[in-house]
């Protein structure tokens, strides 16, 4: 394989890394006059184009000595991550114009997104670790970028919890490596297929450590304490990036590790792993939803809501472990629709907060009169997050829960029951927000202006929410064919 072929495999990430360098260089030479967001958008479109080219062509398989693997699964997440980053970058312009350091945000976001693309492709423990840390470290800096008291605090707290969880994850990796003698996921799978029963205990220990580390990235309880703090304190642009792209990458790498590395539902570990994920899923839904009820700050509420949603996704993940055939595609479909929904909600809150200077839910009163666009998009997204038809959130929940019930395990059916009760609890706070918005009178009813680029992103998000709610077949097919490459 020639160098060009190797580079072709990691092209989408490469183009984003180069874009980050170009943005910083342009900023160095011409400062604020530099076309910062234009360059970032250009790099992201390049990344999307390259991913599309790979998806259409027949470039598949391992590259760089088995460190990365290009398959439909990686390309699905590559699309998802780059497209969500594009939406965030398009809506970030107003905020970056208002602070001293704008170029750094774009550069860090590109680096972080590129590493997430690598993470989705990673096929080796070392690659996973480096890509995970590169995304995380750029996110720590982004969270502290606003230089306000709250932003700095969010950055520090995110970093300390992030570093702690990375160390725990690594300890798990060290044991996986020690038992199997290789860092290659396929090699680990080979070892597990013939592992003697007495090695079960150390392997279980490694599994618990690894899941704890990934649980942090996926924002699952009990590793969720950072989420509300960071989402509230970090700049909203960064919060929306974290809630969508970062979570997708976390689930992508966890799915691949457990499918390719730990042999899917076939080894003697799968039952324990399914149980463990199921407990995390249940805890996340309960902690997320009960925490959200008390919140008055919109970003903090969305933070708790994203913990609960991670729990919903983890129900699908537990089903994967228990041998559900539609489990992996359910997780992927959920992440796809969740990206559109959560981006819409976060960007609407951001547009509101930038004009009014308030993130309090009470101040959303009378929004339909002040800005019909924001009110309609936000309502649609909240309805989708609750899981009410005809939105994508409804289909996603039904799909994931169906996968869990299909396995026929009693404890998974109990988990789905917990999830359904939690959906009812979540309806309480989502719909309360809607009621405030539509029924309460505004104290100040001056109109809120929304920039054209933001309007375009919001329109795209709401079209996604409605389209996949009414006609989910294309996304389901894409998720299924991508999931097949894992099996």
């Amino acid at each position: 394989m020639s160098l060009a072929e190797h580079l072709n495999h990691i092209g989408p990430a490469l183009i984003l890394y180069i874009g980050a360098g170009v943005v910083l260089t342009a900023d160095m030479f011409s400062g604020r006059a530099a076309p910062r967001w234009q360059l970032a958008v250009l790099a992201l479109i390049g990344g999307l184009g390259w991913t599309y080219g790979l998806a259409m062509g027949d470039t598949r398989g391992e590259a760089l000595g088995g460190a990365v693997r290009v398959d439909d699964f990686a390309l699905f997440f590559s699309f998802l991550i780059i497209a969500s980053t594009l939406a965030v970058v398009l809506s970030a312009r107003q905020w970056t114009d208002s602070i001293e350091r704008g170029a750094e945000l774009y550069a860090l976001m590109l680096i972080s997104a590129a590493s997430m693309v690598i993470l989705a492709q990673a096929n080796d423990l070392i690659t996973i670790f480096i890509a995970l840390e590169t995304t995380s470290i750029s996110q720590f800096v982004m969270a502290g970028l606003a230089r306000t008291d709250r932003s700095a605090e969010a950055g520090l707290k995110y970093l300390l919890t992030g570093a702690l969880s990375a160390a725990v994850l690594l300890y798990g990796f060290a044991f996986l490596f020690g038992m199997s003698g290789t860092t290659d996921l396929d090699g680990i799978a080979d070892y597990l297929a013939s592992a003697p029963e007495e090695q079960r205990l150390p392997l279980l220990l490694a599994l618990v450590f690894v899941l704890a580390g990934f649980g942090f990235k996926m924002a699952l309880a009990p590793f969720h304490a950072w989420v509300p703090d960071v989402y509230q304190g970090a700049p909203t642009v960064v919060s929306s990036f974290l809630s969508v792209a970062s979570k997708a990458a976390g689930f992508a790498v966890a799915l691949r590790l457990f499918y390719t590395g730990l042999g899917g539902g076939d080894t003697f570990l799968s039952e324990d792993w399914a149980m463990f994920v199921a407990v995390l899923a249940g805890l996340s839904m309960i902690f997320g939803n009960t925490g959200a009820i008390l919140q008055t700050n919109a970003k903090r509420l969305l933070g708790y809501s994203s913990i609960a949603q991670a729990g919903n996704i983890a129900v699908g993940f537990a089903a994967v472990a228990a041998g559900s055939t539609i489990g992996p595609s359910g997780v992927m479909f959920f992440l796809g629709t969740y990206a559109a929904t959560n981006l819409g909600a976060f960007i609407a809150v951001q547009a509101f907060a930038e004009r009014t200077g308030s993130e309090n839910i009470a101040d959303f009163a009378g929004l339909p009169k002040r800005s019909p666009v924001l009110a309609v998009v936000l309502s649609l997204c909240l309805i989708s997050l609750t899981g009410i038809p005809p939105t994508a959130g409804f289909i996603a929940k039904v799909y994931v829960f169906n996968g869990a019930v299909q396995t026929g395990h009693e404890w998974l059916i109990v988990l789905v029951a917990v999830a359904v009760v939690n959906t009812a609890i979540s309806a309480f706070y989502y719909l309360r927000w809607l009621r405030t918005m539509w029924l309460d009178e505004a104290e100040d009813d001056s109109p809120i202006e929304v920039a054209p680029a933001v309007q375009a992103v919001l329109a795209a998000a709401s079209i996604g929410v409605l389209f996949f709610g009414l006609w989910p077949a294309p996304l389901i097919n894409a998720a299924q064919s991508a999931a097949e490459t894992l099996l």
Partner: protein
Amino acid sequence: MPEIPAIDELTVTLAHYLVVSGLVFGIGIVVALAKRNAIAVLMGVELMLNAVNLTLLAFSRFSSAFAEGDEPLSGHAFVVFVLTVAAAEAAIALALAVLVYRRQETVDLDRVNLLRW
């Protein structure tokens, strides 16, 4: 006077390394969770990372999963990457700690609490 065992009976095995690294990891995690000063938490995390390095190297040298004389280098390579990443993380952590200290005059995590409820 107790009898001193001969040197060749004192072979250091994989288990010794694993116990030591397990202890260091445990101390690190307790420090990281119990200390309220951001810098002390960071020191705990560094201990944990070093325990991981020791584990990786010990496995790389001793593990029975490898054929005789076939020590894989990926364990050693892993350690180099862990060291590099730990350094990068510490640099960012100290920068953020300085930023917080300048604004709030403390890095005590119990008093850095604008974000709560």
